[in-house]
C-alpha cells in the first residue's frame, strides 16, 4: 500500500516535470540586450519639409503599392496611419514653428531596444536583431495578433482580407543594412531630416543639436526612454503630441512588465505538486482514522 502510494507520487512528479519542462524555461520575458553598435535613425523634425520622398522610397524598397496620392498635400488633412501596404507615413503636425513653418513627422516601426512584440511572440516570428532592426519571419507567423495587442506604438498591421494573412510593418531595411546600405527612407531624404547611424552616436548628436541651438528645440529626445528606448529617435521644436507621435508611452521596458508573472512559473511547477500531494496525504489519513474509529465504536457497541 505504502509502496503503491510512493510510486504514485513519483509518477506524478515525473509527469509534472517532463510535461512542463518547456514552460519552466519561461522565467523571463526579456530579450537579450542590443549590441553597442546597434543602428538607429535620428529624425530632426525641424528639417522635415513633408515631401514624402521617404514613403515612395519605402514602397519601392519593399515592393509595395506606391504612396497615397504622391505630391498631393491634401493627404495631410486627416490623421494618417501605416497599413499593410504602407510601412511609413508622414503626418502633418497640428502646431507650427516659431517662424510659422509647418511641422511634419514620419511614423514607422520604432524598433524598440527591448520590443514587446518580439518578447510576446510565441513562435519567434518577430525577432530583435543585435544590429537594431526588429525583423519578421513570415514563414513562422501563426497570426495570433498578440504583437498588435502589446505594441505601445500601434505599429504591426495585419492582412485581414487575406486567407493566408501576414503581419506587415517597417523592416528597418534589415536586408539593405546587411549589404552595407542605409535604409531606403534615410537614403532618399533630401532635407537631412533623417540621419542613419549608431543609436549611441545619434543620442549624442541629438543632445549636441539641442544644446548648441539654445531656445530652438524642446528639451527631450522622443525614443530615448520611451518603452525602454527605441532605435528611432525624434527631436522637435514643437510639442511632440502635436506631431501625432503616440503619447503616454511608459518609460520602461515593456517585456519587463511580464517578468514577475513569468518568474512565478518555475515555482508553481516545483511547489504545487508536493503541496497538493501533502494535502492529499492529510485528507487520506483523516479518512483512515475516521474509518478506524468508526470500527472501534461498532466493536464497543457489541461489547
Amino acid at each position: 500500500m505504502n509502496l503503491n502510494r510512493r510510486s504514485l507520487f513519483k509518477l506524478a512528479a515525473a509527469a509534472g516535470t517532463a510535461g512542463v519542462v518547456g514552460a519552466a524555461a519561461t522565467s523571463s520575458a526579456s530579450v537579450p540586450p542590443a549590441s553597442k553598435d546597434a543602428r538607429g535613425v535620428l529624425v530632426d523634425t525641424t528639417r522635415c519639409v513633408g515631401c514624402r520622398a521617404c514613403e515612395a522610397a519605402c514602397a519601392e524598397a519593399n515592393a509595395l503599392a506606391g504612396p497615397e496620392k504622391p505630391g498631393d498635400d491634401t493627404v495631410f488633412a486627416s490623421r494618417r496611419a501605416t497599413s499593410p501596404t504602407a510601412y511609413t507615413v508622414v503626418q502633418k503636425g497640428t502646431a507650427k514653428s516659431a517662424a510659422g513653418d509647418d511641422r511634419y513627422a514620419k511614423s514607422q516601426c520604432m524598433h524598440c531596444v527591448t520590443p514587446a512584440c518580439a518578447s510576446g511572440c510565441v513562435v519567434k516570428a518577430l525577432e530583435k536583431t543585435p544590429e537594431g532592426p526588429v525583423v519578421y519571419h513570415k514563414d513562422r507567423c501563426l497570426g495570433c495578433r498578440y504583437c498588435m495587442i502589446v505594441c505601445p506604438f500601434g505599429v504591426p498591421k495585419y492582412e485581414f482580407s487575406s486567407a493566408t494573412p501576414l503581419v506587415k510593418k517597417c523592416t528597418f531595411c534589415a536586408e539593405r543594412q546587411a549589404r552595407g546600405l542605409a535604409p531606403a527612407c534615410t537614403d532618399v531624404c533630401p532635407s537631412g531630416a533623417l540621419k542613419f547611424g549608431k543609436r549611441a552616436d545619434l543620442l549624442e548628436e541629438a543632445k549636441t543639436r539641442i544644446y548648441t541651438n539654445p531656445g530652438t528645440y524642446v528639451h527631450k529626445i522622443y525614443g530615448e526612454d520611451e518603452a525602454g528606448g527605441t532605435s528611432w529617435l525624434y527631436i522637435s521644436d514643437v510639442p511632440f503630441e502635436s506631431l501625432r507621435l503616440p503619447d503616454g508611452i511608459e518609460k520602461k521596458s515593456y517585456p519587463e512588465m511580464a517578468d514577475g508573472a513569468l518568474s512565478a512559473v518555475p515555482f508553481v511547477i516545483t511547489l504545487w505538486p508536493p503541496l497538493l500531494m501533502g494535502m492529499y496525504t492529510f485528507s487520506k489519513r483523516r479518512e483512515e482514522v475516521a474509518a478506524a474509529e468508526g470500527n472501534e465504536k461498532q466493536e464497543e457497541g457489541h461489547v
Partner: protein
Amino acid sequence: MSERPLTPAFLESPFVKEKVLLGMPLRTYVKSLFTPWNAIAAAILLAGIPTLVFRFWRGLGAVSNLSQTNPWGIWVAFDIVCGVALAAGGYTVACAVYIFGQKDYRPILRPAILTGFLGYALVVFGLIVDLGQPWRLPYQFFLTPGTTAVMYEVGWCVMLYLMVLGLEFLPAALEWLGLVKVRRLLGSLTIGIIVLGVTLSTLHQSSLGAFFLMTPGKLHPLWYSPFLPIFFFVSSISAGIGMVIVESAISHRAFHDQLDPAAPVDLDKITLGLAKGGAVVLFAYFFIRLQGLVASGRFDLLATGWGAWYLFEMLGFVLLPSLLFALAARRHSARLARAAGLLTVLGVILNRFNVSLIAFNWNVADRYVPSAGEVITSLTIVTIGVLVFRWIVNRMPVVHEHPDWRGAH
C-alpha cells in the same frame, strides 16, 4: 429474400443498438431527435457552418469586424478568455474531491470534468478559428518556440491540460465500453493526474491575465494591474464553482432519466456546500481587486463613467454574489445559491470581456462591435459543446455511477 432489411447490418449489432442508439431501433431513434431544442441547434449550425467555411476561404476580415486598431474581438474574448475561465469547474471540483477529500461532491465530479474537457476542446477550436494561419500551431512546440512569451507557457499548459482532462474523463468512456483492465490501470493513476491538472490550471488560468501585463495605456487603469495574473487565477476558482452549480442544476433537470434511483443524490446539499466555498472565494477576490485599486491609487477615476462601469462589475457581480452565497448557506436556500452561482458566472464573463475587449482600447475613437458572423460563429461553438455533452451524458456513466464501479477512483 424479399424480407431483406433496409438498414445496414452494423446498425443491427447489439453494440450499436445498445450503446449508440440507446436501445431503440434506428427509425425510433431518429424520430426521437425531432425536438424544439434540436431545431434551434440545427438552425444555429446551419448558419454557423457556412460562416466558418467563408471565414477560412476569404480570411478573417470577410466575416469579422476586426480592424488594425482592434485586432482581437469576441473570438478571443469569449471563445478563448471566457472559455478557459468557464471550464475551470473541472480542476476546482477534482481538487476538492481528491486533494481535500470532500467525497460528498463525487456526484458532480464527472459532469464537471466533462464540461471542462469539452470547454477546453472548444477553446482550441475557437483558437483555430481566430488564428490567421492555424495550421502553424505546432510551430510553438517544435520548430521555433518563443520561450520568452506568456503565450508559450499558456500554449503548453492548455495542450497538456486538455490531455489531462481527457485522461480524467476516460474512465467514464472505458466503463461505457466495458474495458475493465485499462479502466483499473487508469484508476491507479488518478491522484497523479489530478495533481498535474491542478498545477497546469494554476499556471495557465493566471497566465491568461498575464497576457495584458504589457498593455498599460491600452487597458483602462481601473482594470490594468500588475496583479492581473492573481485576479485571473482567483476568479477562475469562483468561475469553476459558479459553473458547477449552474451546470449541475441544469443537468439534474435535463438528464433526470439518467439519475440512478438506487443512489439518490442530494443536489441541494452539494449546492449549499459549494455556496460556502463560493462566498469565501468571491470575498477574497473582491478584496484583492480592491488591493489592486489601492496600489494603482486611481480613486479619482471612480467618479468617471468608466468608474461607474467598474463599480457595476465589482459590486454587482463580485460583492453581491459573494453575499448572496453566504446568505444562501445560512438560510439553507439552494435556490438562492443557484441564483448567486449564475450571477458569479455572468460576473466572470463580464470581467473577461472588460479586460480583453470593453476597457481595452478604451481611449481610441474606433471602438469594436462584433459582427453577426462573429456572433453566429461563437454561438455555433457553444452549440457544438452542448450537443456533444448531451450525446455523452445520455450514453456514458456521467451523472450516475456505473453499477460495477461504484465509489472507485
